[in-house]
Amino acid sequence: MRHIISIQLFNYGRRQRRTLSKKDLNIKIDELESSLGTIKGLEIQIGRITDEEWEEPMGPTPFPSVGTFRDWDKKLLNRYKPFYMPLCDLCCLCTYGKCDLTGDKKGACGIDQKAQQSRIVLLACCIGASTHTAHARHMLNHLLEEFGRDYLLDVALNTNVEAPHIRLVCGYKPKTIGDLEEALDYVETQLVQLTAAAHTGQEGDNLDFESKAFHAGMLDHVAMEIADISQISTLGFPKGVSEAPLAQMGFGSIDTKKAVVMCIGHNVLPSVDIIDYLMEHDLFDKVEIGGLCCTAHDNTRYDNRAKILGPISWQLRYVRSGIPDLVVIDEQCIRLDIVEEAEKIGAPVIATSEKSMMGLPDRTHDDPDAIVADLVSGRQKGVVILEPRKVGEVVVKTAMAVSPKRKEFKEPSKEKLFENMEKCRGCLECVMACPNNLPIMDAVKACAEGDLSLLSELQPLCVGCGRCESACPEDLSIISYMYAASADQCKDECFQVRVGSGAITDVEIREVGRGIVFGEIPGILALVGCANYPKGGGEVAKIAEEFLKRRFIVLATGCSAMDLATTLDEEGQNLYEQYPGVFDAGGLVNVGSCVSNSHITGATIKIANIFAKRPLRANYEEIADYVYNRVGAVGIAWGAMSQKAASIAAGCWRLGIPVIVGPHGSKYRRNLLGRKDKEEDWITLDARTGDDMYIGPVPEHLFYAAETIEEAIVMTAKLSMRPNDTTKGRAVKLSHYIDLSKKYYGTMPDDLELFVRGESDLPFTMKVELLEYLKKKGWEEGKIGMPDPTLLDRMIRRKK
């Protein structure tokens, strides 16, 4: 047994944990005897032995605490004031309640409605960030055990800045996977502080709650970075490659003649063991391993013979199809009735995380064959196995043994799937329960009379939530009906998805930095998050295509990266096949799973650092100020619904990256909206002179729920503008904005005068037309300034 020691340095001059910048030391002791005993194979690192390579002096804010960036946050929040839309007027968080907070009422603790709404936002962000952090901790603990603390981080090809978030936030440069732990410790400490702030009787101010939510978001990106770079480094995932290989997705990708393992969740470790087992025993021709959600992405990053079943919203549908022989759940995005649902199709469930044990017996320490026997016989409908390295054998053996016994379930007849349909009593409970008020009853009734068309039309509109079934007093299996009505089509569907490529390399950043910062590449569009929106498939692909054509850099992660694979052109090619998989204008990159979102924000940080040479180390505010004012990045999380999505978005906000969500995103309880009609809100400092300057409403919003995809598209074009755009860049962006407005709104934008700084900003071909428009609007040349924009006093070079 080897003992390895990590060391934290406390610098007594500050309350925050700190690393020494240059006073580094590395002691190795092969054998040491002391009065206390003998120690072998001991290695002591004091400070970061890797630091020697990092000449950059420590920035102002290493390991920032809850209040460190409060001023920065409030600058943003003052421009983008929260518009609160309570999802409930009550608070029920403590037994003093429920309290009615409607309007100007206060709770028994003295809280008001705005503070309450922002408290819930904070809580959501804490839960979300905790989820990635807990995931990172589990991942890292396991990888440290398996690969050792000294295993070198190797994140992306030709890349020096391996961990932009850790460098930026924590102020150190990790070299080995062991080095990641300090950042993780820090994130955990801070998250506990934030969760505590949501306690009854702590924080009371809504903007302070918002600032804390931003803090959670910033921490979340550090945690996601840790989770992803540790797995990329150790598990052989693509390291920022261009044109990553393709993997297959969809019902049609699965060979149902094999035993089918369905992995659900976000933590690849159990799946890795399954894939390793399949490889070692040469069983890929006998077993299909398919995944849902991020585990699916990460499986294909590990081995692209793994299949992607689809995004979260297809979970119930896949189970109802009867195809899976065994279900493996790890963590996150698991339907909580999965055990019950799997039982109905005779498929055992293997739970692999302490966070999600589902009431199943823990068999971690039992003999694999005994577990297999219990599962195959049906004595147990599922088990917990917490050691990832024990999952493979049990899963593969069980799936192979169960598969032949499941014939009756694997191809359920239409009769079986349509069972009981005629019992529909027309009560409309299903419709009222449906988050989208879909016309379920009509479809069921029509189908009962032989017309399947309405049901199969519903299928693409349905997010697979199952609330209709749950509400139905006749317990009709509405999702099975929808599946059955369209099974013939979807069974053959097989799409190509580019495998997640991981972090953006330094080289790529260097190449596109200029184009992005000066606006010649009109923007970076990130399509991220879940697929819980009606018309999954069509919508996100429509956005992606629109901006790919316009030579935006389009990035995707998670379920969105899957969803946009499902739209095909006339030649049957999807966007991954039509567009190059490169981080460059007109390129479409699947970055990876949800934790890979850190690479998207990471790329914007790297643009500031690598392209613009802004100091990175513990220098958050300056970098955020740079990204906000210069990098035309926009995130769209069209299906975002979870607490994780909230915290990921919050991490974008603090960096100044606007995020658009779908209509149900209004349920996040508030938007952060700019007021383009208020000039005073858009005054920025000119770093050259310190002068205040009106810059127009760019970017107009920070967090914004769009009502329709068309609105989101036009808004994306608008939000890609930044005060720093060159005239050429602004002209390009304006032409997209105008063009897309005309296309989707059937009209010119009515606010162009706010974005045209001078005649030279005008797209050449429209100049005459636009000048006329501007004249009518009373536009003045030069009213909108072109400063060296900053929100930070300290960035001013020459004070007046």
Partner: protein
Amino acid sequence: MSAKLRPGQTAEIAGPKHAMVFPKPTVVASMIKRAKRPLLVIGSKAPEIVTDDGDLIDYAIKIGKKGKLTIAATGHLIGEFKKRKAKNVYSIPFMNLGDRLRDTDWNGFDGKGHYDLVIFAGSQYYMEWLVLSGLKNFAPNLRTISLGNLYQPNASWAIGTVNHSEWMSILKEIIENLEEKK
């Protein structure tokens, strides 16, 4: 007396303060007529809502014309109004509109002052629910009406949950009654 109110969506429960349901369509009409600065907000589902002789946008244009209301078209709906040559229609994202409506300093699209009555129709149910929630809580003096056919608890007044044909006849009656505006 039964406590059962037919909801618009099963879990739509908002809080202790919730919309009154109009006793009859004429009340809506007279409320609009009495308003000094009414605003009609039309959401992006409007083209999908089919009426006898067109869609909800046509109805909206009629209401706007007869009741002399400014119309706010949310989402990407403005194009439809332009096509139909409607006047006094402004395009604005739904979220922005909500945000401005709660700002008592906002002077409306034409700069002539805040609205005193805001009427909603044609929006995604839950999005309207939330915008109305924002207004109920943070624009206490703004009166709001939901003309949707699913009960909107956060409005000041709502039509309530009715089926399509009932709904259409209610809308028609409102339009008819607006005619008599002096």
